[in-house]
């Protein structure tokens, strides 16, 4: 297939994909890879230097930073992916509904307009403010803040695909709307959905770990990269090296998602560069 050929040629995209898959792999197998228990407190070994016993040192409670970093993948990345999965599912269902059924179109789009008149950062803060701190509330806040954008995007894609000859043909043949959506619309939408989600993933990771940094997200002692940074901040003058591993990991993962998203967009939409929409 043309798509895979182009992707295999794009070295940056492949490297980004490798980093993302590698990090996910490390997260899944964290219990087998991590040298220590991420929650084990050992005050006699606090602020251990980088070395063979603690590869990336230990924090103010003597917990192994490398182990916390590996287990942190499970919270930082997996919660971000979970939040995105829920948001994207809502976006697909309502977006396709609005695109395919004229009765639903007006209601859903007006609803999106109202939601989009709030900036999403603010909406997230508002929902967390009302529900209180905690990772579940952060995921809810993310779904509330971001769904409208996905609905809008997927709606516009499904509208444009409905003019495709094979979908028009299928309609003329008298196939039910459900069959057309399942057999023709969803498969062609899939690539666009993956692209949208990849472009957005970096931002989701940044906002979830940012809220955890503020203390509004994942609660201690569960390891999370943003929260590890906020712990490192408190001991910055004694142990400045502690803030490098989590920050660097966030930077690498977010950059990988951004690069992959950009490459996917270039592959799926070659006209994007020449069009005015490139903003």
């Amino acid at each position: 297939m043309n798509f895979w050929k182009k992707l295999l040629k794009d070295r940056i995209a492949l490297a980004s994909l490798g980093i993302i898959l590698g990090v996910i792999f490390l997260g899944i197998f964290a219990p087998y890879i991590a040298p220590h228990d991420p929650l084990a407190v050992n005050l006699s070994h606090k602020f251990a230097p980088w070395g063979s016993e603690y590869p990336l040192g230990s924090d103010y409670l003597g917990r192994c930073v490398l182990s916390r970093l590996l287990y942190g993948i499970r919270t930082t990345i997996f919660f971000a992916l979970l939040a995105m999965l829920i948001t994207v599912s809502i976006g697909v269902v309502l977006g396709v509904l609005a695109g395919f059924f004229h009765k639903a179109e007006g209601v859903i789009l007006r609803f999106c307009d109202i939601m989009l008149s709030f900036p999403s950062e603010l909406l997230m803060l508002a929902v967390v403010g009302m529900l209180g701190a905690g990772i579940v509330n952060i995921i809810i806040a993310h779904v509330v803040a971001k769904s409208a954008w996905y609905i809008r995007m997927i709606y516009s894609y499904s509208i444009s695909y409905q003019k495709k000859p094979y979908i028009l043909f299928s309609k003329t043949c008298g196939n039910s709307s459900f069959t057309i959506i399942r057999k023709h619309l969803l498969p062609i939408l899939f690539a666009d959905i993956v692209m949208l989600a990849t472009l957005d993933a970096g931002g989701v990771i940044l906002s979830i770990s940012g809220l955890s940094f503020l203390g509004l997200g994942v609660q201690p002692p569960t390891p999370e990269w943003g929260m590890m940074l906020s712990e490192a901040k408190n001991v910055m003058s004694i142990a400045p090296m502690e803030m490098f591993p989590p920050g660097f990991m966030i930077l690498i993962v977010v950059a990988a998602f951004n690069f992959l998203g950009d490459s996917l967009r270039d592959i799926l939409d070659p006209q994007y560069y020449s069009s005015k929409a490139k903003i």
Binding site: P119, L122, M130, G132, M243, N258, I279
Partner: protein, 309 residues
């Protein structure tokens, strides 16, 4: 032009009403009872009697719509309620914190516009050169950089190692240098990218070719190009001002600046609902006003849009 502004201003009224309703309604979705929160904050055991008394004191025994209109009436008169925690009127707390946030957001805004316009234009002029490549590297790094890590790195290097600026606090202007740099970084990257890409896209337009054929000076051609590339830039900048103010939440927490963002985070922890409501309403209104301002500015710059409207 004037008619357009009036029309948009009139449309603001229903929009603001809707937003105020959402702000107010959100509190009622909250799982905890405000009366109980007030009692807990003031170290009173929330017995059923105490709770029902507090309900009366806060006016929670009235129906929802009545409460909403009372709240709205208060806001129109500048009364945002009283903070549950400090018992100080919310408006006074906001007035205290606002200057810090405005200085931070304002200085970042100036820096972002300056960097975005100058570096974006440089990138487009020297497209493909070493400078362009370096700046694009910076853009991609800055867009993936978590602002809370960048802030810590700046703090560690400039305040702890080199001892050039104070670590935290806002006693004098030096306390704002690092927060401003931290806040500006990712935004500046976005605008360098926008400016560069729109300038490169406008290069192929016919009026540029025409200007070149007529033998106009290079600087004059560039001037026309820049004016035409400003439109997406201004829209993006207008949209980002509230995001900039929302972004101060993290930066103010890192550098312990007593601004609006820190006030809001503190209010979230202590479940100080009047405070949170006021902050969100304030931010939403700012968002709408700056969007309007950006729209008007764009139309003022580009007469073609005015005729369409």
């Amino acid at each position: 032009m004037r008619r357009l502004v009036y029309k948009r201003l009139i449309l603001l009224v229903p929009l603001l009403l809707g937003i105020s309703f959402i702000c107010y309604g959100l509190v009622n979705l909250s799982p905890s009872d405000p009366a109980e929160v007030v009692l807990r904050v003031n170290d009173i055991t929330p017995t059923p009697e105490a709770i029902s008394e507090m309900h009366k004191e806060l006016g929670l025994d009235k129906p929802f719509m009545t409460r909403y209109f009372l709240w709205l009436e208060g806001i129109i008169q500048g009364d945002f309620g009283i903070s549950y925690e400090t018992k100080i009127p919310v408006l006074i707390e906001i007035q205290r914190a606002l200057p810090v946030t405005l200085i931070l957001a304002g200085s970042s805004f100036l820096l972002i516009v300056f960097l975005g316009l100058s570096l974006g234009t440089l990138c487009a002029i020297f497209e493909g050169s070493l400078l362009d490549k370096i700046l694009r590297g910076f853009v991609f790094t800055a867009m993936a950089m978590p602002s809370f890590w960048l802030g810590l790195l700046f703090m560690w290097f400039f305040a702890l190692k080199l001892d050039l600026v104070p670590i935290s606090g806002a006693e004098d202007f030096r306390g704002y240098i690092l927060p401003t740099l931290t806040l500006s970084c990712s935004f500046a990257a976005t605008y360098i990218r926008i400016m560069r890409n729109t300038l490169i896209n406008t290069k192929e337009n016919l009026y540029i070719l025409h200007a070149k054929v007529r033998g106009l000076k290079k600087s004059l051609v560039l001037k026309h190009q820049i004016i035409n590339a400003l439109q997406p830039f201004i829209i993006a900048v207008g949209m980002s001002i509230p995001r900039l103010i929302a972004g101060t939440v993290i930066v103010e927490s890192i550098f312990s600046l007593p601004g609006l963002g820190r006030l809001c985070v503190h209010a979230i922890f202590s479940r100080d609902y009047p405070m949170i409501q006021a902050y969100i309403l304030f931010m939403a209104v700012a968002f709408i006003l700056f969007n309007l301002l950006a729209d008007v500015l764009v139309q003022w710059i580009d007469p073609r849009l005015r005729r369409q409207a």
